[in-house]
Amino acid sequence: MIVEADGKRFELGWREAAALIVMRFVGWNAVTLSDLELATGNYVSAVSTAARLKALGLVDEYSVRGFKLFTLTELGERVAEELRKRAESLGLWGPVEEALGETR
């Protein structure tokens, strides 16, 4: 899928899109690799998704004492918002609303 933000076009697969949505809407400002594993399916996908999002300038990676944390860049936040808007306009956003509502 192609998403545009700040005049740039990003071609994202479902794994990258899922990771961005999780990072933007889960409710805290950093995620671990095992969190990304939940969004992308497995460890290898989590690593490659994080690397691709980082290369696109959508995610920052912080490494300290043997673990890594990932945060959205400002551009990453805007792309995640575009994904939300598009999903809402297509009537697809319900599951995320539900997930947030269940645990609120």
Partner: protein
């Protein structure tokens, strides 16, 4: 994004997957949740000027800043807790206090928390270090 069938399917899959991950992460987070509490026993250590403003730095704040500086500007919150002798609740409160002073940025996932010095925090940490060296230098 055009909303064509393939893209719609990809987006639907992404949303479904993200929703499942969010639900699970938020349930897991409940067991890791701690509220920060600013340590009450903090002694004023020094006053300094940084970034054009006057700051008063306490002993605990100075220790935390020096620990993060020692890590190259980034350090795990539990390392700060160990170095300052605070429990995780108080260490989190201290980190939030430093964040309000714009000296650090706190990156917080429920099970992992990391503190990063801002440029102002780095400047303050350097000044604290110099001042303490001066105070405790022999002769």
């Amino acid at each position: 994004m055009s909303g064509e069938p393939d893209e719609r399917r990809e987006l639907a899959r992404a949303v479904e997957r993200a929703a499942r991950a969010i639900a699970l992460m938020r349930k897991r987070a409940a067991s890791h949740h701690i509220e920060g509490e600013v340590p009450k026993r903090q002694r004023p250590l020094l006053k300094l000027e940084a970034g054009g403003i006057q700051l008063e730095v306490t002993d605990k704040q100075a220790a935390a800043l020096l620990v993060v500086k020692g890590g190259g500007g980034i350090e795990a919150l539990n390392a700060i807790a160990r170095a300052t002798g605070l429990n995780s609740k108080l260490a989190l409160g201290l980190a939030k206090q430093l964040e309000r002073m714009e000296l650090v940025k706190l990156l917080a996932a429920p099970q992992r928390k990391v503190v990063i010095l801002t440029p102002l925090g780095w400047e303050v940490a350097e000044k604290v270090e110099r001042e303490l060296e001066k105070r405790f230098s022999v002769g």
